[in-house]
């Protein structure tokens, strides 16, 4: 009987997730057709092309942007998680506050940054009105805007697991640390941070993965200047019509994401905060 329960999900996930991925995998080993599409023979050409300096540059840029986003999330998110974990009864309220914007439209949250950052956006308007600047600052369509958008969108991914691990921490640990002479910053650095390390690692990777494959944020906020792997994939499948190469890029991207997730899930301590 149990099989009947699993059947719809198996069929649907198979048909509209697994099979499409297999098709893309097959495409990545085929040759680009003259009018788009794919042709025989089988080849690894597309994967080899990923090593081209142009594409290595994109790969590097994606990794760099994702890494800096994760770092910024750590700096912004750790104190926030610590604050929430310490806030007693109001914990649930603060957690909801962190999660609320996360569940509202991703597109609109990204759009909100265009509204803030563009030449006639709120920040430039205010600064000009205060006569702090005479010409609008070029805030939009650069790496900074992309980082702001990514950190803004994915910060909850960091806060949640860190909160989960801080919450599990025995408060007596800090009392013991104080008893042994470590208070304030030293206790934070020598006790709180190491104890919540599984959460920090989980959070960092959970931010890194979606940042690496992000498409919408660099598209809207990077204005075509900050091309990342996601945009490369989209471009190859639409305007460039080089499906085999787009497919190879997809699998390179998916491979890195899956590898990171697998590493994360292997650690039991980390699994417990997810």
């Amino acid at each position: 009987m149990r099989q009947w329960f699993l059947l719809p999900a198996r069929l649907w996930t198979g048909l509209f997730f697994a099979i499409p991925l297999c098709i893309v995998l097959a495409y990545s080993f085929l040759t680009r057709g003259d009018y788009g599409g794919v042709e025989l023979p089988w080849t690894t050409e597309s994967y080899l092309r990923l090593a081209d300096p142009v594409y290595l540059g994109i790969l590097w840029r994606s990794v760099w942007v994702a890494a800096v986003s994760s770092l910024l999330c750590t700096l912004l998110g750790f104190p926030l998680a610590l604050f929430i974990a310490k806030s007693g009864k109001r914990k649930v309220f603060y957690l909801q506050l962190v999660l609320l914007p996360f569940w509202t439209s991703f597109l609109i949250r990204t759009y909100a940054w265009i509204f803030l950052l563009r030449d006639t956006g709120l920040i430039n308007t205010v600064l000009q009105a205060l006569h702090l600047i005479s010409k609008p600052l070029p805030l939009l369509y650069n790496d900074g805007a992309v980082l702001a958008g990514l950190v803004y969108n994915f910060l909850p991914f960091f806060v949640l697991p860190v909160f989960a691990s801080l919450e599990k921490m025995d408060p007596a640990l800090l009392e013991a640390a104080a008893d042994l002479g470590a208070t304030g910053w030293r206790a934070l650095w020598r006790v709180t941070v190491p104890v919540s390390m599984p959460g920090i690692v989980a959070g960092t990777v959970l931010v890194f993965i979606p940042c690496l494959g992000s498409y919408l944020v660099p598209d809207l906020l990077g204005g075509g200047k900050t091309v990342m792997l996601g945009n490369l994939v989209q471009n190859q499948f639409t305007s460039a019509r080089d499906w085999p190469f787009g497919a190879a890029a997809s699998f390179a991207l998916l491979g890195v994401c899956a590898l990171l997730a697998a590493l994360l899930l292997r650690n039991r301590q980390i699994r417990s905060v997810l």
Partner: protein
Amino acid sequence: MKLRLYATLALLFLHAPLLVLIVFSFNSGKFTAWEGFSLRWYAAAARDSQLIDGLWNSLLIAFASAALATLTGTLAAYGMWRKAAPVLSAGLYVSLITPEIVTGVSLLALFQWSFRFLHLQLGMHTVIAAHVAFSIAYVSIVVSARLRGYDRSQEEAAMDLGATEWRAFFRVTVPYLAPAIAAAALLALAVSFDDYVITSLVAGVDSETLPMVIYSMARKGVSPVVNAVSSCVVVIFGALVLVSERLQRR
């Protein structure tokens, strides 16, 4: 306290952009300078036939795909709770971490390839199929979380009292799962309504969704009409999510 200040700033960072957007959606002027309170952009949005069509398409897709995904995902979560199904659960995990753009192009590849044999076109049905595929994982996570606290002897007791497996499932397990199923449905509704990346790749000419309309408007530059529409979406979503959370904690 320094920590409180820092946390307040972080929370401000999370909320200010959307709050500012909502405030300026009520601005009577076209530009970012505040010129007075007005609902003119809401009126303009209500008259914009592209936005209205997009909204209807989005609602139709969201309700259809949420219904299907909730049913499929709930059954799957239950099946996996009864006995581990490693292949399916691995598949669902992978679907969660796969970048949207990769899911999108692979579905596009599937449809383009299969439509050579099937005389079909991209349209509402392809969007719904895609949305169900990525929502199943969300639904099954929410329902699985509730099943973790479920005691197998509940079903055994039902069977002991004369209910068959199916009747035990519907009379005892489903009522127990009801809050989680409702929360999962709302979540599926939200992720479907929100999706732009995958939708834009598998939508046909007749199935432009609200996010697609908003995207094309945002590409052209900021329009106060987009602010108005966005504010509506944000507020409605926020309410939906709060309801969903409340249900999950029951």
